[in-house]
Amino acid sequence: MSTAPAAARRAAQLGFLQAIQQAQHEEMTRDERVILMGQDLRANVFGAAQGFLEDFGPSRIRDLPLSEAASVGMAAGAAMAGLRPIVDLTVASFMFCAMDQFVSQVAKNRYMFGGQARMPVVFRQALYYHGGTAAHHADRPYPMFMNVPGLKIMVPSNGPDLKGLLKTAIRDDNPVLCFEDATLWGRRGRGAAPEDDDHLIPFGVASVPREGTDVTVIGIGGGVRHALDAAADLAGEGVSVEVVDPRTLVPMDWPAILASVAKTGRCVIVDPANRTCSAASEIAAHLVEEGFGSLRAPVLRVTSDDMHVPFSPVLEKQIYPSKEKVVAAVRRVLGVEK
């Protein structure tokens, strides 16, 4: 096989870093009020800001010091005063340093001030697990932010969705947290490049990357991959899996989730977050509350174990969701023990 078709296929496939690069570039071109800030951004350490300094100038492309709290609060203030900042916080674990700013300023100001404030600001951060960086860089903390009213939260599972959601986020007048699952940075997060230059994906609309009838598997971020891989394997055994990708956790597309489970009667949720009070917990709780009548089996959560991320490569992988764990969970809800 020659490499030409492979290269063409590849060009038509949008990966995570390209998606970010394109979404940010297009929106910054479209609206002068959009500015981009991040640690080591100008040196393009994370690889999604090539040429931005040249294209948009130093006033709109800024390197941030190691000052996460002030960076987040500053972005909130700038948003209230007329800019539309994007802040690249690089690694989600660093968000903890700015938690008060997220909760007390970003999420609360509009409400507390009776609607006077608009808060058009996007915070981007990688879920940097599964890379041998140990517990201080590997958190997946989006469930903590789901407990905070006033934020919108996206966890895309492929490049095209990331692009379309991020563009929507930048145009939204509300604060958006964009969590980028780093296990999808390579091949696994690629998808057909959108044709449309104004490719926008609305928040709160799930996608169904695979239809099926026996069991619903809901995937979050990198969990979608495991769901699809498991679905492919299980198809060989005659099990028909429907995969649902909520894409945004706040707002959540409850109608789509309830509809799928109404059809299949069974549900497994794949969530890379820590198990307790995870997004998976929320979905399971919502299902038993609003979809009890459709449930024909326990709702199972395939999550990370409630552990910190160990450094050693021989220790790390086992604590996360995997295709195998999803397959086992599906078998359990189908009552097919092997």
């Binding site: 941030l64 709290a69 609060g73 300023q105 006077q116 006033g150």
Partner: protein
């Protein structure tokens, strides 16, 4: 400084607006009409009025829990502030913010934070917006001596300094953080010396003198508008009432005699009124007239607030998100 009559009277007016507004809240408290305790700026009026007068109504501002004085001195309507304190629908935040969290975007007030220190970087962000948009505005950032120990101040001062943002950090050092004397848990006597660590000018002024504060902040504002970056101004002042009016601290922490000395000898309004008369900038009649005007304004504010209805229950469920086309 050669004080002009108009400016001097405006200083007095703004100080009086704070004082009389807050004295009205004390009455409301005792009448059982206030839903919560209030943190009063009485005693600190000169610092606040001097600082705010050095900015325009378009300039931005943020502050903390002791939040009444700032928007008042920035020129906000008193009636909507008072209604907010009563939790009424006509409140500037529709009754959802309350006493510690006044915000009035119409006069540049981007809001005060009950989480002490938390609004400091928000002011830096407003300065960033002014810088990027090139609109010549500055951001005035109020914080207390206690807040000066929050890490986010340090991050904010460094950021404003390296980007030369038009921000004025303004510390109301009233000598106490609740029950703790400033010198006890703050490692320096003058908080303004911390400016050194950020390569910005730092100055301490007499916070009981609105002219001293006005001049220091005016210089800082001018510097900021010239694009030369932030400054730190500290005003030494004093809080005349308990940390929050109505709070009963179990163990007494400051001598009544200390309070008495400040009240009797360092009341900023008494001092300034006397100065106006002494310097012939105003006569008794003018001062009385001003007092009467402000009293009437405050009385009207109280009436407005009382008359304002409580918000509808559904109001609790609005304003979490901005929704295109929804009424605000």
């Amino acid at each position: 400084m050669n004080l002009e009559r108009d400016l001097a009277l405006e200083m007095l007016r703004r100080m009086l607006r704070i004082r009389l507004f807050e004295e009205a809240t004390i009455e409301l408290f005792h009448a059982g009409e206030l839903p919560a305790m209030v943190h009063l700026s009485i005693g600190q009026e000169a610092a606040i009025a001097g600082a705010c007068l050095a900015t325009t109504a378009d300039d931005y501002m943020t502050g903390n829990h002791r939040s009444h004085g700032h928007p008042i001195a920035k020129g906000a309507r008193l009636d909507r502030l008072m209604a907010e304190l009563l939790g009424k629908a006509g409140g500037v935040c529709k009754g959802k913010g309350g006493s510690m969290h006044l915000a009035d975007f119409s006069v540049g007030s981007l809001g005060e934070s009950g989480i002490v220190g938390s609004a400091i970087p928000v002011a830096v962000g407003a300065g960033l917006a002014a810088d990027v948009l090139g609109n010549g505005l500055v951001a005035l950032c109020f914080f207390g001596d206690g807040a000066a120990n929050e890490g986010v101040l340090h991050e904010s001062m460094n950021l404003a300094a390296v980007w030369k943002l038009p921000v004025v950090f303004f510390c109301e050092n009233n000598g106490w953080a609740v029950s703790v004397r400033a010198g006890e848990l703050t490692s320096v006597e003058d908080i303004s010396v911390r400016a050194t660590g950020y390569g910005m000018p730092g100055v301490t002024v007499d916070g009981q003198d609105p002219v001293a504060t006005y001049e220091a902040v005016s210089a800082a504002v001018a510097r900021a508008r010239r694009g030369e970056g932030p400054s730190l101004v500290e005003a030494k002042t004093y809080r005349f009432h308990e940390h929050a009016y109505g709070l009963r601290v179990k163990n007494s922490y400051r001598d009544q005699s200390e309070v008495d000395v400040w009240r009797q000898e360092r009341d900023p309004i008494d001092l300034f009124r006397r100065r106006l008369l002494d310097e012939g900038l105003a006569d008794e009649a003018a001062v009385e007239a001003l007092d009467a005007e402000v009293r009437a304004e405050v009385a009207a504010a109280v009436e407005f607030a009382r008359d304002s209805p409580y918000p509808e229950p559904e109001e609790a469920y609005r304003d979490l998100y901005y929704v295109e086309g929804a009424s605000t």
